[in-house]
Symmetry: C2
Subunit: 243 residues, 2 copies
C-alpha cells in the first residue's frame, strides 16, 4: 500500500518542525507543496524530489500527490502551520475517496494561532475560536454570525486571513461586528511573519485594531473580557480566581 504523509511544517523555520515531520520527509521519495513552503524546506532535504503547484490549485496538488503515490512513491504533502487547520488534510481525504490502496497519515504541527500566541504572550489561555475572514469558500453571512456568536459568548477570537487585496476592509467590518459585544478597550494583538524573517508583534485595543491595516501574513487576536496587557504582552488569565 502506498503512503502519503500530510505534514504541518509549523510557522516556517526548521526549528519549529516536529521530529515526526522531519522523519516523514526523510522517509519520502517526493515532497509536494505550494511553492513558498517547498522553498522553506528544500535546503534541509537535498536528496529529495520536489513538486509544486501554485496557490488556488489545491485540488490539482492533491491529485498530483495521489498520482505520485499510485506510482509506488512515498509522498509528503506539506502545509504551513498545521495541515488540519484551514490546511490540506481535509481536501486530501475528499480527493482520496477516488483512490484506493493509498494510506494517509496526518502529522500535526504548530499552527499560526499557537505560534502567534507565543510571540504575543499568552492570549489563548482560555476558551477561544478560530475564524477565517476569507469569504472565497464561505458565505460572508456565516462569517458574520460566527463573529457575533463568539463575541457575545466572550471567547478569545483568533482571525486567520484577516485581509487581502480584494478584502482590504474586512478586518474593519469584523471589528465593528465584534464591538457589538466586546468593549472597545478589549486587549488585542497582531503578529506578522510568525517565526520567519521580519516577525513583528503589537498589542493594541480593539478600537485601535479597527483602524489598523494588516496584510495576509498577519494573524489577529482579540481578547476576552479578562484579557489584559502585562509589560507589553497580551495575557488571558486561566480562570476567575486571583493569583
Amino acid at each position: 500500500m502506498s503512503k502519503i504523509y500530510v505534514i504541518g511544517i509549523g510557522p516556517g523555520n526548521y526549528e519549529q518542525m516536529t521530529g515526526r515531520a522531519i522523519q516523514a520527509m526523510k522517509n519520502s521519495d517526493v515532497i509536494i507543496g505550494y511553492t513558498v513552503y517547498v522553498d522553506l524546506v528544500k535546503e534541509h532535504f537535498p536528496d529529495k524530489e520536489f513538486m509544486t503547484t501554485p496557490m488556488k490549485k489545491e485540488v490539482d496538488r492533491c491529485v498530483l500527490a495521489f498520482e505520485e503515490a499510485k506510482k509506488g512513491k512515498t509522498v509528503s504533502m506539506i502545509c504551513s502551520g498545521d495541515a488540519g487547520v484551514y490546511g490540506m488534510s481535509g481536501l486530501m481525504y475528499e480527493v482520496g475517496e477516488r483512490y484506493e490502496d493509498v494510506d494517509l497519515e496526518i502529522i500535526p504541527g504548530v499552527t499560526a494561532a499557537t505560534g502567534g500566541a507565543a510571540v504575543l504572550g499568552a492570549p489563548l489561555i482560555h476558551d477561544f475560536c478560530l475564524i477565517s475572514l476569507s469569504d472565497l469558500l464561505t458565505p460572508w453571512e456565516k462569517i458574520e454570525a460566527r463573529l457575533l456568536g463568539a463575541s457575545q459568548a466572550d471567547f478569545v477570537i483568533c482571525l486567520y486571513n484577516p485581509s487581502s487585496k480584494k478584502r482590504h476592509d474586512y478586518l474593519q467590518k469584523a471589528c465593528d461586528l465584534m464591538m457589538q459585544y466586546k468593549a472597545p478597550e478589549t486587549v488585542c494583538g497582531i503578529v506578522t511573519n510568525i517565526g520567519r524573517e521580519g516577525e513583528a508583534a503589537r498589542v493594541l485595543t480593539l478600537h485601535e485594531l479597527k483602524d489598523t491595516q494588516v496584510d495576509m501574513f498577519t494573524t489577529v487576536f482579540i481578547g476576552n473580557s479578562q484579557t489584559r496587557e502585562i509589560n507589553g504582552k497580551m495575557v488571558t488569565p486561566r480562570g476567575y480566581r486571583n493569583v
Copy 2:
C-alpha cells in the same frame, strides 16, 4: 538577565516535540513541570536537574521557576500540548509581575486539538472553538453560554477536560445543550491518549456521544453541519464549493 523558557512539549512522545523545544531544554540548567510530564522527557535529558510539583499547585510551580531563575539558572517550564492553550504561559506572566530581570520565552507545541484532529482525520479544517468543560475556575453559566453560542453559529467544537470524577455527567449536559442547535446526526469524534501508549479514536454521532463515557485523557470533537465521515475518518470540508 535570567531566562525561563515556557515550553509546550506536544502530545507526549519525543517525536512530537519541535526542535526549538528540544534545544531550549538542552540550554537549560533545570527542567520544571508537573510530575507526569517531567517523566515523559526525563530520559532524553539525562544531565539536567528536574523539579516537580503536583497537580493543582500551578502557582507554586511558577514561583519555583522564578526563584530558580533568580539564582542565575536557565529554567525550562514544561507543559503538555501547547503552553499557551489552557497551559502555564498565562500564569507565568501573572506571577512574573512580581519578578524583575527575568526574561520569558514561550515555545509553542502541538496542542491536543490539532494532535487529536490528526488522529481522527481532518475535523478542524474550518472555523472552530476550543471549550474546556472544567468549571473549577470558570462559572458553569459561562461554559453553557459558549456551548450554545458556538453551536448556533455552526462552529466545529473541540472540548478539553470533558470529564473527571466529580464531573462525570458534564459531557452529557454539554451534548444536550449543543443539540439545541446541532443535529443529533452531527459527526463527532473522540481521541484518548493522543500520541501516547493506548492511543484510541472513535467516530460517532452527537446522539451517540451523549451516552458515551469518556475520561480526563480524552479530547472530544463535534463537527459542523458540513462535517462527514469518509472511510472511518472525521472530515470537515474547507468550504462550500464541491470538490
